[in-house]
Symmetry: C2
Subunit: 301 residues, 2 copies
Amino acid sequence: METAQRVGFIGLGIMGRSMSYNLHRAGFQVTVWNRTRSKMEEAAGWGAQLADSPREVAELSDVVITIVGDTPDVRAVVEGENGILAGAHQGLVWIDMSTISPATTQQLAKTAAERGVRMLDAPVSGGDVGAQEGTLSIMVGGEAAVLEEVKPVLQAMGSSIIHCGAAGAGQTVKACNQIMCGLNLLGMVEALTLAKKAGVDLDTMIQVTSKGAAGSWALSNLGPRIVEGDLDPGFSVQFQQKDLRIVLEEAERLQLPLVGTATANQLLRSVQAHGGNEDGTHALITVMERLANVKVAPGDE
Amino acid sequence: METAQRVGFIGLGIMGRSMSYNLHRAGFQVTVWNRTRSKMEEAAGWGAQLADSPREVAELSDVVITIVGDTPDVRAVVEGENGILAGAHQGLVWIDMSTISPATTQQLAKTAAERGVRMLDAPVSGGDVGAQEGTLSIMVGGEAAVLEEVKPVLQAMGSSIIHCGAAGAGQTVKACNQIMCGLNLLGMVEALTLAKKAGVDLDTMIQVTSKGAAGSWALSNLGPRIVEGDLDPGFSVQFQQKDLRIVLEEAERLQLPLVGTATANQLLRSVQAHGGNEDGTHALITVMERLANVKVAPGDE
């Protein structure tokens, strides 16, 4: 019998917390590190080995996973003095599951390769519930052979694992995903606001339109929450805005005008201006309410 | 046994042609009129009675249906010298299945009521295929009791018949529908263009994103057609633009800023500037192609 594969895990936020536990439950030996040390206590409770640095995580692991906030956070835990690359041995696989810049991802994959480290980008969708239940959708960029090698690791966290192409392709597909989330959301809140101003029952409008050519996940899942006045995340405005910034930076690099996405990004900024960073993305309805001087979601102010 | 209900039908375009035939097949006595007389020949072939004017249609019918191009076309066949109201008897039900202005619909419902005519607005979605198969989704505004009375007539044409509220509510829900169609479409073409410029396989991107939070009818149904280079309608740009003009007029009346919808409308105008009026709405991809200087849909120029 082989020794269980040693998996390092860096980033114990709302996603990483559940994902690392699911790796443990699947039988992997898990070593964790988190910038805020107090978040490592829970992991110690279920039997994780605690490391003092990303470097030490790399030294103790065959596969290292990162899921941290933003592009600079990834660079810090990878390229820093006590980073993954400093502790990496030949043949280590590093899987970055953060949502960051596709262009930076391509650079990091090269840097890692120069150190003998094989990198995959593997951003996820499915939210905190998908992380808990191990049903994340995982979009993978990098070499297909490396993906095959670590597939059992990813299968402990996700139910759909799809190879999207070379390094950065996972991040590109995630960017595409966030473009559509933003614009489907905008269409849904504009429609709800028109229905409200015209005096049409919102539930009826959602019921009629969600089954046909206007249908979307946003309409079916976030529309009813707006009607109930529930603006909790789901997926929060601050993370959507971080992701749209990455999309728009990538679009600038590619000389790609994204008129619709830029509009969604600017309107979501107004949610932030009113202190709604922690609200769900469907709090975009409050911007429509202010623009149109009408109350759509009951009871949120 | 009762005599079959007499149904008048005005407007034998791509939709009305199939809808009137389905009424005939359901056992109604159908009298038709169309502005272009030659289109009435087909209906004569399956046994429709031909009228000389909308006025005569009204004289010969218990229920009159209109499905014509735009708001002025409806006014002409209803309020004109030889219009429906000129030939209407007390108790006639007029069902307008065109997509027109909610505000004009409310005025017309009042005008009709003054002449003893009960009006329903009942715009549809489901396209030419839904019209042929009798599976249209029908959004109804007006009095619920009148809808109950004529429900068998609507059931001959549609599989989902939903009462949305008072006069104009059907048109309002259709407007909401078209807002979301426009913005889901914009999100989809922006995402496809990013994927293309970044070198990611388009089918893979659609496959990965369509099942999750970015999912929409537009992505699942129109996305693959773009990848195949098929820009045929579906639903044509000229009709979507007519509908978005109605949406934006209604929004002006309601003092409702629709930043996203206006953007979709302006970008679709560029399809029109390049002669794409008759293309499907997903020809919006060609605007992205010109904006970003990249080819996404194969073989369309």
